[in-house]
C-alpha cells in the first residue's frame, strides 16, 4: 500500500491510542493553563458579583453525570464565587438524577470554606448561608411557582427540613428576592427559564452550558435574555480564572487543568482531519 493510500486508511485503533495518550498524559502530570476570560463569562461573573445583599443567587444544577466533566467545574467555580463574596445561595435541580451532583458540588465547596473558617461568621452554614431545595416534578412547577412563593413550591428541602423554618427563607420569598438565576445544563432548560420565569417575572438568567449546546444560546445572550454565558470547559476555566484573580481563592481548578489535554486533543483531531483531506485530494487528482 502506498503512503498516500495509508493516509486515508489509518486504523481507528491507532487514532484511539494517540488520542488516549494526549488526554491521559497531561492529566497524570497536571498543570493549569492560563486562559483569558471572554466577554460572556465576564458578564456572568459581574452579574453574580453584583447581587445585592438582600437578594440571593439561585443555582440550578440541572446537569447529568454524562456532562459532569464540563459542567461540574462551573458549579464549583460559581459556588466558590458566591460563598467567597458572602452571597446567599439557593440550589435546586429540575430532574431527580442531577440531585447527587448538586449535593457533591455543595459538599466540596462548603468543606473548602469551612476547613479554613476561624469563626462561626466565616463558616458557610446550612440554612443561614445556603439552602438545598432539592427537586419537585415537573420542571414547570418550580419555574413558575417560585415567582409567587419558594416555600410553597418546596415545602421541605432536600434533607427533609421544613423550608419555612430556615433562617434564609425568612427573607428569600420569591423571584423578587433573587439577584440572578444561574442555570447549569447541557439541554434546553435555560431557554425554558427564559420562557417561563424571565418573561413572566423578570428573573435575570445566567447560563453555563456544554460546548456543543453553546451555539444555540448565543442568540439569547445577544438579546440580553441571558445576563452572561459560560460555554464548555473553556468557559468554566475562564470563570475559575476570574474567581482566583479577584477573590484570591486558591483551590484545585478542574477546568483549567483540563485545558491542556483538551488543547492537545483538539490539535490531534485537526491533524487527523487535515491528513485525511490531503490523502483524499491526492487520490482525487490521480483519478
Amino acid at each position: 500500500m502506498k503512503f498516500i493510500d495509508r493516509l486515508t486508511k489509518i486504523d481507528r485503533r491507532i487514532i484511539y491510542a494517540i488520542l488516549a495518550l494526549v488526554v491521559i498524559l497531561p492529566l497524570v502530570f497536571p498543570s493549569a493553563l492560563k486562559v483569558k476570560p471572554m466577554k460572556p463569562v465576564e458578564k456572568l461573573y459581574e452579574a453574580v458579583d453584583n447581587i445585592p445583599e438582600d437578594k440571593a443567587l439561585l443555582l440550578d444544577c440541572s446537569y447529568a453525570p454524562q456532562i459532569k466533566a464540563e459542567v461540574e467545574p462551573m458549579a464549583i467555580a460559581v459556588l466558590r464565587h458566591a460563598f467567597g463574596k458572602r452571597k446567599k445561595v439557593l440550589v435546586l435541580a429540575l430532574y431527580v438524577q442531577m440531585l447527587g451532583l448538586a449535593q457533591k458540588a455543595l459538599t466540596q465547596v462548603t468543606e473548602e470554606f469551612n476547613s479554613k473558617a476561624q469563626t462561626n461568621i466565616d463558616s458557610i452554614i446550612y440554612g443561614r448561608d445556603y439552602v438545598f431545595l432539592g427537586w419537585t416534578p415537573p420542571p414547570l412547577i418550580p419555574m413558575l411557582g417560585m415567582g409567587e412563593s419558594i416555600t410553597d413550591v418546596y415545602p421541605a428541602d432536600y434533607y427533609g427540613n421544613q423550608t419555612d423554618t430556615l433562617e434564609l427563607m425568612q427573607y428569600i420569598k420569591n423571584y423578587n428576592n433573587i439577584g440572578i438565576l444561574v442555570c447549569l445544563s447541557g439541554s434546553a432548560i435555560p431557554k425554558a427559564w427564559v420562557m417561563y420565569a424571565q418573561n413572566r417575572f423578570g428573573l435575570a438568567v445566567g447560563v453555563g452550558c456544554t460546548a456543543v449546546s453553546g451555539a444555540d444560546f448565543y442568540a439569547y445572550y445577544q438579546t440580553g435574555q441571558f445576563s452572561g454565558l459560560m460555554v464548555g470547559m473553556k468557559g468554566a476555566a475562564e470563570y475559575e480564572e476570574l474567581v482566583e484573580e479577584n477573590l484570591e481563592i486558591k483551590e484545585k481548578r478542574m477546568a483549567s487543568e483540563a485545558m491542556l489535554p483538551m488543547t492537545y486533543a483538539h490539535f490531534i483531531i485537526i491533524f487527523f482531519i487535515v491528513i485525511g483531506n490531503i490523502g483524499y485530494f491526492i487520490q482525487r487528482r490521480r483519478k
Binding site: L144, F272, G276
Partner: protein
Amino acid sequence: MKKKFPLLLVFVFGILGIIPFLIPHPIVQHSDEYIRNDILRILAAFALVLALGSLLKVHADKIKRKKVNWQYSWVLILAFIVSSIIGLFGGVAGTGLLPTSFGSFNFNIQTLYENIIIPLASSMFALLAFYMASASYRAFRARSSEATLLLVAAFVVMIGFLPVASSISSKLPAFAQWVLNVPNVAGQRGVLFGIALGAVATSLKIILGIERAWLGGGD
C-alpha cells in the same frame, strides 16, 4: 365520549394555560397557581408511579418470555429494588431508619450515586471523543465548497476557543467569537422563529382539536 372528553380537557386546560400570561387579575393568577401547585403536582405523582410500574412490567414480561437479553432485565429489577430500599429508608445522607454503613464502608444513596452512576455515565459519554475523532478523520472531507466552508469554520472555532489561540494569532479568538456571534446567531434566529411559529401553530391545532394524532387509534 372516549374521544370527546380528552379533547374537552385539552381545550379547557390549554386555554387556562394561556390566560394567566395575558390577564394579571388576582383571581386568574390564584387559580393558575392552584392548578400548577396542586393539580399538576398530583398528576405528576401519578405519572411517576405509572412510569415506574410500566418499567417493571416491561422487564418482568421480558424475563417471563425469555426475550433477547432478558438477563439484563434482572440487573435492572434488582438495581431498582436495592436503590429504592436504600433511598426510601436510608435517607439522602444515610440518616434514615435503615443503617447504610458497616464501619467505614458506606452504601448510602449519595455514595452509590457518586461511585456507580457518575463513573458509568461519564465513561459512556467520554467514549464519544474517540468515536468523534475517528469519524471526523473518515468523514470530514472538503468534497464541495459548502463542505470546505464548514471545515474552515470548524477549524476557526475549534482553534479560536483554545487557550493557545491568542499565541497563534491575536485576532483569532475575536474572529472565532465573531463566527459564533454573527453567522451562527443569524442562522439560529431563523431556526428559532421557525420553531416558535411551528410550536404556536401545532399548539393551537391540538387545543382546538384539529390535530388529534395524540389520541392514538390511527384515525
